[in-house]
Symmetry: C2
Subunit: 429 residues, 2 copies
């Protein structure tokens, strides 16, 4: 039961720096709360020459993370480097060495969380990862503990700040995707290579983690349908606004029968009255529905040094308190079974479809007939002349299996009178 | 380390019933998560003849709560009766008898929480009270644990569903207070005697609890300025809408220097872009600001059997897990020092003032001169003719100490040209 808890941080980037800064700035108050001094004793990074906004004293610096994770002087290992290698091995060694671990590594937890948590449970140590989803938003602890007594049926979130920032700029200023992406990059909200964010990969990791905790099942990543925002256009956003919707990149997980769940990431036309529809800019929010809780939403900054640093440091305090009191770790979210993710073709949603057609008599009838043949029922249709030659038709369907819609759109796309189907978005009311 | 955790519930009203129902409905999943069966073994209520929506088997029923809290067969006592007597004594005895306690009693925690938590710490038992503020919203655990590493500077909440429902109806339908109150009573959102809700007393208890956890200080209730919504009129709401604001009953706590804090409950004109401004109907939300977390908001149902039952049952699981593993209680929020609450006169806010004046030349000048003399700087002024005789003037001030504004309004109210000052609201941007 040490009176001084030594923390070793792997990776001194945005999150590592934010964690160091949070623990250092609030050291006195933290010591009073935990009953022991919690201090950053070592920071490992491969490159100490790089310029940083947050710095740490030279005597804490090391380049040897592998030595740090087995050092008997270090009680808690904080991993913030991201990616699988070498994070997986380093964390695994830290757990084996009996250390508590805190990580903000969503890819690692999404892919290997179930193994690492099982190992942690076996070794009786803490492995915490609040910072891996939604930055400072306390969603993991809330699902794991506060809402634990409820049966959660749905988790739906804006979990990627970059794409939400881009969509917000597109919505408020009428920018197209490329312009909004450039603006986001200039402000540091998007990386030089934005693929992970704009293609929905980052959101996929996060919904896998949330679904695993909410439903107690390991979710195979390759089964999560993932579509980014690169095909969302200024026109679709304008139509959405007109119809009382916002376009958001949502990560969605829903409980089905037995071990069957829905898990998917794609842009959604979301009714403006939905609590998530007003979450703008770089903010994140996670909306939870359960049998008993009805609707709960948690909102905050999903990224950034200080907000994510607060989440990681909160986990560090939890570990530190257990260590100081000589208590075992509390994992609370090991998943033994694997989820079966419903194929996208079997998902039933309302949909928005925007198509460009030749401006001729009978066109609407031909298309409507195909929708009817495929069992796609239409909730609303709106036609606008765009120029002399072409007209734009916007359809909103009733709830339809994705397979039927795809089949109808395939047939419609083959019609000579159809110039193209540039817009297709699922609708959530 | 019992394999079957016996829960005794005191009070079988809305919250007690919801807790019973949650624990019973999800018993199997809960047992799997905790590693032990968690079952409601006894329910104490003074009146078993009363009709209820949720019922429990006759063999669980007792009228002797005092015997239940010391019964060695009972491991966790859940108190849902509310009020000070006999709840305080029953909980105190349960803690003395080494039992874990879960309560949803905001008045008790606001008034005596610091004593009960100190006793719990001494006895090494859990005392949990997530259900006392914001129903199912996981705000207490989030402040106590997830955001623990941050310095929280502000907690601001819509923590009373009755008043939020009334204000929402007034806003969407132009109803006056009395009509909206009647509607709320008919739908069961307001009690026959609505005083505790509409006068802000319920919200005062809740902000005292939130401030205590956020700032680590016991907050004397009598120092919390408390003003309800009975004087909010349809006219004020119409003006607010026109100016881009919503009127909400907010409970506000802000960190000051040392042990000095702001803590107050009153209606506020809140800028529509604020995350709390779109929280409508019976929903609650708590907005937290901190040095590191920036803005966090938690949203959900603040009342009702099932939502509050989920929060209380979540606390029960936490206690049950500790008991099953033979671990001591984790109180984490004892307050040893007392807050000094800034007197309302010293609070500085923007304000909205609506007054009715004789429609004559020079009136605006006379009033503006008094504002100027008292150091109240005006941000905007808007005059409207109401009838031939009287005009209505709406002022919005810059940030001003409440004392200066009160002094100015006193002098202005004494002018012969002033017919009355029916509207005064603080403004939050």
């Amino acid at each position: 039961m040490p009176d001084r808890i030594n923390v070793g941080i792997i990776g001194f980037g945005v999150v590592g720096g934010g964690t160091y800064e949070t623990l250092t700035r609030n050291a006195e108050r933290i010591a009073a709360r935990v009953g022991a001094e919690v201090r950053v004793a070592r920071v490992a990074d491969v490159d100490w020459a790089r310029e940083r906004e947050i710095t740490c004293p030279p005597e804490l610096r090391t380049t040897d993370a592998a030595a740090m994770v087995v050092d008997p002087e270090i009680h808690i290992v904080v991993e913030t480097i991201g990616g699988i290698d070498p994070a997986r091995e380093l964390i695994s060694q830290a757990i084996q060495a009996g250390k508590s671990v805190v990580t903000s590594n969503k890819e690692l937890i999404a892919k290997h969380g179930h193994e690492l948590l099982a190992l942690a449970e076996e070794k009786g140590v803490d492995v915490q990862f609040e910072g891996s989803v939604g930055g400072v938003i306390p969603v993991i602890r809330s699902l794991k503990e506060s809402l634990e007594a409820d049966r959660i049926t749905e988790v739906m979130g804006i979990v990627n700040g970059t794409t939400n920032y881009i969509l917000t700029r597109m919505t408020t200023e009428g920018l197209d995707f490329a312009q909004a992406l450039t603006a986001a990059q200039e402000l540091g909200y998007a990386e030089a290579d934005p693929t992970n964010d704009v293609e929905g990969i980052d959101a996929k990791y996060k919904i896998a983690i949330l679904a695993a905790i909410a439903f107690g099942l390991h979710v195979p990543l390759e089964e999560i349908y993932t579509e980014g925002i690169t095909r969302v256009t200024a026109q679709d956003i304008a139509y959405a606004k007109k119809m009382g919707y916002a376009i958001k990149l949502l990560a969605i997980a829903r409980q089905g029968e037995g071990n069957c769940i829905e898990a998917r990431v794609h842009p959604v036309m979301l009714r403006k009255t939905h609590p998530l529809a007003n979450v703008n800019g770089p903010f994140n929010a996670i909306f939870v529905r359960g049998d008993g809780c009805d609707e709960v939403m948690l909102y905050g900054r999903g990224a950034g040094a200080r907000p994510t640093g607060v989440a990681v440091a909160g986990d560090v305090l939890d570990c530190a308190r257990n260590l100081h009191k000589g208590l075992p770790g509390r994992v609370l979210c090991t998943c033994h079974d694997q989820a079966r993710v419903l194929p996208m073709a079997d998902i039933t949603t309302k949909s928005y479809v925007r198509m460009r057609v030749k401006d001729r008599p009978g066109v609407l009838g031909s298309i409507a007939t195909i929708f009817g043949t495929e069992g796609v029922s239409i909730a609303s249709v709106h036609q606008e002349d765009t120029d002399g030659e072409l007209a734009e038709i916007v359809w909103v369907t009733h709830r339809t299996p994705e397979a039927s819609l795809r089949s109808a759109l395939g047939a419609i796309g083959n019609l000579a009178i159809v110039d193209g189907i540039p817009g297709m978005l699922r609708v959530e009311d």
